[in-house]
């Protein structure tokens, strides 16, 4: 355990990749700029951010697969750079996707292999594989080749593999990416169960809903830096404080988006076309008056207007400064 009783303690973590080959040095890519956080034992901590934000790189550093360029991190009380073996004994890693499994082996054989290289005896490996396959709902498909598994089944097998050594800390990287809604729901239930059993879980995701449902605390990262942190409720309060003013214009107006963005109270502007009408969606803090937006556009140009509270998704996109 770390000095302040955190299970994971991450201080000013930074990771820079060098482009080019062994003979030619290319430009640098900053995957993680400066990330600090603490994770309390027995909680689920989320790293939320869009693709390319630096979530996976952070997980790879914490699971000892990648050395940090700067900063430090301790997991279960051990330094990830200088004590990798100690960290590995206490952690389990589940990377999402189709890779990381032997497709021509059965689910059971995959687990037996990963158990063996983690020093479980054949008997223990067999026990563990059996109970974990039952736990993740793959008991009946244990003898099927993994290439016959669906994406969701592979994801559950990844989780079973990560649990083989009964780790104190579990790293789950985008565990529901690519799953259908039912599969994702079932997976989230599984993760909640694991928390109930006392595991500390670090979860990366780009799904706001997932972070909201599972995480006790989370940080939002974008382009390698933390842009928000706190409990999902606190972040929702921060995110949910925006009002969206949706205005339909009688005729298109050039330069409107830029002039709206210049207003001090405006956080974000999207424009679009619905039928014959130009639409403008303006995000403003909830304590601001929507009338100021209409006044700026000119009431004579407005066909109709509605206001609503921004969704979590919109607020999240606003926070990280992008729209889709």
């Amino acid at each position: 355990m770390t000095r302040n009783d955190s299970m994971i303690e991450c201080r000013n973590l930074r990771r820079v990749f060098q482009r080019g080959g062994p003979l030619r040095r290319g430009s640098e890519i900053v995957a993680v700029g400066d990330i600090s956080f603490d994770v309390r034992p027995g909680t689920i901590f989320g790293l939320l951010g869009p693709n390319g934000a630096g979530k996976t790189t952070t997980v790879r550093m914490l699971s000892t697969l990648l050395l940090p360029t700067e900063g430090s991190a301790r997991v279960a009380g051990f330094d990830v750079a200088s004590q990798p073996r100690e960290v590995r004994r206490r952690t389990g890693l589940a990377l999402g996707g189709d890779r990381g499994l032997f497709g021509r082996l059965t689910g059971e054989q995959n687990l037996q292999y990963f158990a063996a290289i983690n020093h479980l005896s054949p008997r223990e490996a067999n026990h563990r594989a059996g109970e974990l396959l039952d736990l993740v709902g793959l008991g009946e498909r244990r003898r099927s080749k993994v290439f016959e598994y669906s994406r969701g089944m592979k994801q559950r097998l990844h989780l079973a593999r990560a649990l083989l050594t009964k780790p104190d800390v579990l790293f789950l990287d985008e565990p529901t990416a690519g799953l259908d809604p039912l599969g994702a729901f079932e997976f989230r239930q599984l993760v909640s169960e694991l928390k109930e059993r006392g595991r500390t879980i670090l979860l990366t995701t780009h799904f706001m809903l997932e972070a909201d449902e599972l995480c006790d605390e989370l940080i939002v990262i974008d382009r390698g830096v933390v842009v928000a942190r706190g409990s999902p409720a606190a972040i929702k309060r921060q995110f949910g404080s925006a009002t969206v003013v949706e205005v339909s214009l009688r005729e298109p107006r050039e330069g409107l988006q830029a002039s709206l963005m210049a207003l001090p109270q405006v956080q974000h502007v999207e424009t679009g076309v619905e039928g014959m009408l130009q639409t403008v969606r303006v995000h403003i803090p909830s304590d601001q008056d929507a009338g100021s937006i209409v006044a700026h556009i000119g009431p004579e140009h407005v066909d109709h207007m509605t206001t609503r509270t921004s969704s979590l998704e919109e607020a999240y996109l606003t926070l990280i400064g992008r729209d889709q």
Binding site: F17, Q18, G21, T57, R60, S63, T64, L65, L66, L67, R85, R88, R89, L93, L95, G97, R99, G100, L101, F102, R104, L105, Q109, Q112, Y113, F114, A115, A116, I117, N118, H119, L120, S121, P122, R123, E124, A125, N126, H127, R128, G130, E131, D134, G139, R161, T165, K166, P167
Partner: protein, 296 residues
């Protein structure tokens, strides 16, 4: 039973019973705290089984036999014309080793890169045993399986040569044979970290394979090689061990001379093992520094 499975070509099932089946009760297992010899042996066996299950198939036997048996037959046909004693047998034994070498250097050589492509390399790295040991288990699976295929080449060569000569020094033959096997394991294993470190691409091993055959002297003593080829060959444990093997078959040298060849073979084996461990550590370090554990 395992012999029956082998004969029936059910390669994948040969080792299946090695892991006992037991009811799925809640285990009281807790991951072992330290590193133990038993733990490393479990890892070695687990890696061996995994690779065996993936590799062992009738298709692999067929494919390797099609590409390798003609070489053995051609070499044996040349030996058939020879009046010298024991040539056919030594060529037949060499043909088996050519199969093992040609196939395993390619498979083992690309093993780290293949695991990286499959996304399993980083999971192997998280193992409690060194990456070297895990990959050695997989490499041994290649060697054992393709040794079985190598026996086909051996048989084909003897069939073409139509001569089964006696072995002059049987004990020395057995010892030399063991040394050649170990030397081949050591030599081909070198290419797992090496090809990873140099970023080998398709076709990389097409020259390495015949170079290994020539320098190891699988078909002839390396003293027949042009000078500078022989110097290179003398740096490999296989060349010394193979030379001892050939002498123990044809009896051209006495037992003392045969035994003298074992010393450099063993010495070089140890050097190769140390070099390989160092290269694996370097590969792992480079991967952790550069993020080269994954394809994407």
């Amino acid at each position: 039973m395992r012999l029956v499975l082998l004969i029936l070509g059910r390669w994948g099932a040969v080792f299946d019973g090695w892991i006992p089946r037991s009811p799925s009760e809640e285990s009281r297992f807790r991951a072992p705290a330290g590193r133990s010899v038993a733990g490393h042996l479990y890892a070695l066996r687990g890696a061996f089984l995994q690779q065996w299950r993936v590799t062992a198939s009738r298709y692999q036997v067929l494919m390797v036999a099609i590409s390798q048996v003609p070489t053995a037959a051609a070499a044996a046909w040349i030996a058939r014309a020879s009046a010298e004693q024991g040539i056919s047998l030594s060529i037949a034994v060499g043909a088996a080793f050519v199969v093992i070498w040609n196939v395993t250097v390619f498979r083992t050589g690309f093993s780290l890169l293949d695991e990286r492509w499959a996304g399993t390399l980083e999971l192997n790295l998280l193992s409690r045993s060194p990456l070297t040991l895990v990959m050695l288990g997989k490499s041994l699976a290649f060697v054992v399986f393709f040794a079985l295929v190598g026996l086909l080449s051996f048989a084909a060569a003897l069939l073409v040569a139509r001569e089964i000569a006696g072995i002059e020094h049987a004990t020395a033959f057995a010892l030399s044979l063991t040394l050649v096997v170990l030397a081949v394991v050591a030599l081909q294993f070198l290419f797992a970290p090496l090809s990873f470190l140099v970023g080998a691409q398709g076709g990389f091993f097409n020259a390495i394979m015949p170079l290994g055959v020539v320098l190891s002297g699988f078909f002839y003593p390396v003293s027949l090689l042009p000078n500078w080829f022989e110097w290179l060959a003398r740096l490999l444990p296989t060349s010394w061990a193979m030379e001892a093997l050939v002498w123990s078959i044809n009896g051209k040298e006495d037992l003392g001379r045969v035994a003298l060849n074992w010393a450099p073979a063993v010495g070089l084996l140890i050097c190769f093992a140390l070099l390989e461990f160092g290269l694996f550590v370097r590969a792992e370090r480079r991967a952790r520094l550069s993020g080269g554990l994954t394809e994407g």
